[in-house]
Symmetry: C2
Subunit: 324 residues, 2 copies
């Protein structure tokens, strides 16, 4: 049995709480929040102030960090890895190397394991990219996202001054998927593959033009994409865009094993709930984190560094017998 | 650079030879055969007698064993692992635990690494089964095989009077795939999962209707399946159906992350050449085998034990930057 703490309780933290209930070898120690705990409604009722996290240090094997990548995790993951094994879902692709180095240094100094950038992309999509490339070195890989809500991009919108609330959809292009599999195109820019569509609720007096400009020019998140921005009321946002958080996507590699033979590897996710699925991946890797720490491993790791046997609640002998 | 030997030269050995040419960090030392080397036509021309394998021991980092699972590998993998790091594609599911134990003992005694049961099933399909189950512990997994040629069913067609030649494809039943993904069914027998498609060349005067009737009503082979029969000329059969060894399949897991939300993970292979793809997986894991041996690892391993970073010819730092 491994003891898990949830740090931060938004959609992702709630997803982790739900996922832990599906994993009989993992025990929820508590949910730690910066809000006043009595105001936070959880499923388990195990909610504590962030100020109490260090006091429970000896009861916790792994902290799952459920903050955002924009401002929370760059500080929080290195800070908490001083005291805990950690798993995060840091997903600002361009800043992953820097985040990795920061966390790795702290993890090595303090003797902890931290698995960063866990989820589906980065995460299991990344794994499928490198495995497919390893198997078919002569080929092309492409990743399509959506249609679905991107939490990171929605968070980024909501951090803009004058924005009360917002949702961002990433939308793939089926024609381009088919063309790629047929070998008619071998390269597509992200801009060609997807568009981004934002539904934004403004604060009372905010300037719509300024907000729109800030969104479409935001580096890493929007500036390289064709982005549309719609301003809607809070009512419309709630009714039409907040009843679920579906997402998904595909990693496709088309390769040649010889002059005549083409092989295609396709990995597809169809998700009713983006945060619940991301949370489920975090929980599986929290298990790996605890096990690797028990084996004496220290430092920052990514999904690339972790043998699949570590993420599943099953004996390796049983896996060989039943699943190989 | 790692030095690789191919042991056995059928369709799989030839696939490995082709695959090594696509991997710049892997060098083919030679192909070792029980046949008289001068009678074996290879692409590289590097063909030697099995009797010379031990003489080249110091030039070889890993032997890729390309024999069959029925009689070759159960003896050959333990025997050669006394002297070499080895990778095999042992695929008799029921005997994997026994094979693993035999090879593990030899590998530990001799200080080698042996990765057994590498390919696509067992292999990357197995990996996808356990990873999907780890992420979605509350759910159902199903594996579909095909589209691919079934030798047994092709033989059965060819035994019918009036049939000159024929090929039978096993095809996943798309209706059943859709029903499983919708959660309408949670278990399917092999029989329910697949349909059968036959391409038949008639002898001169044979009655097509009678032959068709004999096929679709044949007990065990066809009568319980949805079967389609196409009559073609010998030319068409040779050109369109006998030039490759296509195969493929799907691993699908449908799970629930909460009461209301369903998540689907689907891994699909579409292969023009079953042996060339299997060979490409073997080659990627031969790289892992060499690297793990260099790190001091010993014993038998499976795909479950190997972190993805080991199978790809790329620095981990570069992977984090470009692929995570």
């Amino acid at each position: 049995m491994h003891n898990i703490a949830i740090v931060g309780y938004g959609n992702l933290g709630r997803g982790v709480e739900l996922s832990l209930a599906n994993n009989s070898d993992l025990n929820l120690v508590g949910i730690f929040t910066r809000r006043e705990p009595s105001t936070v409604e959880t499923i388990s009722g195990k909610v504590f102030s962030m100020d109490d996290l260090l006091k429970k240090k000896n009861e916790i094997d792994v902290c799952i960090l459920c903050g955002g990548s924009a401002t929370d995790l760059p500080k929080q993951t290195p800070e908490l890895t001083k005291y805990f094994n950690t798993v995060d879902s840091f997903d600002t692709h361009a800043l992953i190397p820097e985040h990795f180095e920061n966390v790795d240094q702290v993890a090595k100094e303090s003797g902890h394991v931290s698995i960063i950038s866990v989820g589906w992309d980065p995460g299991v999509f990344s794994l499928n990219r490198i495995m497919a490339e390893a198997i078919l070195p002569k080929g092309k890989t492409i990743t399509f996202w959506g249609k679905g809500v991107s939490q990171g991009h929605s968070d980024a919108i909501r951090r803009i001054e004058g924005v009360r609330d917002g949702i961002q959809y990433t939308i793939p292009n089926q024609e381009k998927i088919d063309a790629f599999k047929k070998g008619e195109v071998t390269e597509l820019t992200t801009r060609e593959k997807h568009t981004r569509e934002c539904f934004v609720v403004l604060d009372g007096q905010a300037d719509a033009e300024r907000v729109k400009e800030e969104i479409i020019t935001m580096p890493n998140y929007f500036s390289d994409y064709e982005t549309t921005v719609h301003f809607v009321t809070q009512d419309v946002l709630e009714k039409d865009h907040k009843q679920g958080m579906p997402h998904g996507g595909k990693v496709i590699r088309v390769g040649h094993t010889s002059e005549v033979n083409q092989e295609t590897i396709e990995y597809t996710l169809e998700l009713d709930s983006n945060p619940e699925f991301t949370a489920s991946v975090l929980v599986a890797y929290a298990r790996a984190c605890a096990r690797l720490s028990e084996e004496g491993k220290v430092g920052a790791l990514t999904v690339f560094d972790i043998a699949p046997k570590y993420i599943i609640n099953e004996e390796n002998r049983t896996l060989r017998k039943n699943s190989l």
